[in-house]
Symmetry: C2
Subunit: 213 residues, 2 copies
């Protein structure tokens, strides 16, 4: 294994361990020692990649939006829907994503760490897709892209939080389907509504079509 590839793998192992520890203990109670133990790397390796707990938290936050990657769809509104279901699904299985989401919603994240980042980056990512959807004639003319996008991002944050508190996210996909059933009639052109798939198992179906890396 080349030196650079090894460094990338070590960095990823540290991030995944940090995500798991942040998810379980929150920012304040997490120590570098806990991450070291979980990652099974040397102190030197950890500090080489991340000089402080703040930088570790920042890197975990920065990893969040890539978890929304989904196969391209001809219908861009469907692609937005797919992102929400895929993130909901990945929250069930991926500790790095869970840790990243906890840091985003926790007020405890210190001033040095920008936990507004994921809110802003999700909104930017979704706005690109909304603009495409609009150019393709998928949206009602009354839709304010920015308002709808920020409603989706904020709403998702709270829905996953409530689902985590009540059922450890077991009903998250269902709750996301409820979100879409309430919002789609206000944003999609009527001709599109029947063809959009926002059923609770959408995330599973999208992911099963993605080749395993």
């Amino acid at each position: 294994m080349a030196r650079q590839e090894r460094a990338i793998r070590t960095r990823r192992a540290i991030l995944e361990a940090a995500g798991a520890v942040f998810d379980e203990h929150g920012y304040t109670s997490t120590t570098i020692a806990m991450v070291l133990e979980r990652a099974e790397v040397t102190k030197g390796a950890l500090y080489f990649h991340f000089p402080s707990k703040e930088s570790l938290a920042q890197a975990v936050l920065d990893e969040q939006v890539p978890f929304g990657a989904v196969p391209e769809q001809a219908c861009k509104l469907q692609e937005i829907i797919d992102m929400t279901f895929v993130v909901a699904q990945r929250l069930l299985t991926d500790p790095l994503l869970r840790g990243s989401v906890r840091l985003t919603v926790d007020q405890a994240t210190p001033p040095g760490v920008d936990h507004t980042g994921p809110f802003v980056k999700w909104a930017e990512r979704l706005t690109v897709l909304m603009d495409q959807a609009d150019r393709q004639g998928e949206l009602l003319p009354t839709v304010n892209h920015r308002d709808t996008v920020e409603l989706l991002v904020g709403g998702f944050a709270g829905i996953q939080l409530m689902s985590r508190a009540l059922t450890n996210r077991a009903d998250l996909a269902y709750r996301i389907s409820v979100l879409w059933s309430h919002i789609l009639p206000s944003i999609a052109v009527p001709g599109l509504l029947l063809g959009l798939d926002s059923k609770a198992d959408r995330g599973l179906r999208v992911l099963s079509a993605v080749p395993v890396p």
Copy 2:
């Protein structure tokens, strides 16, 4: 002042101080000493009312739903709308409510404290109003009360969280009006839509009509 009345005031002073400290520092970093200093009561008085940090947090959580009190409306959907705007408005000025909301959304709240309580209690409170709205013919027949109510509660939690992170809640009332503009067409009978008031300044207007206690 009668002894009982004094005890009620002391308890309230402690709760308000605890709310402020929980809001600023979160559960983990809050100490009884910090609450004592803020409340300006004796250690004995505090422990008389709240034997532990857990019991203090539980009491702060239990105070949340009463902040949704609003004047009765003939239209029950309007009353639900009013609750969301009034809570949004009170979040700007009331440290006890802010502390309670932080404890609700923080994963750090320990197992001994039931931070699912407010989610469940808001949902119960809103379900009563939704059932009344339904009996009065305000809702579309397709509405599943429980789904809609839980979407509102979870969505509100995340929207206030995003608004806090991005603008210290300065745009919260606007974001709540966006939530309603997206959801109302999916739940209210068409004849009601124009008459419902879900403008961003609704909370201020409702509160200005309430007599100062």
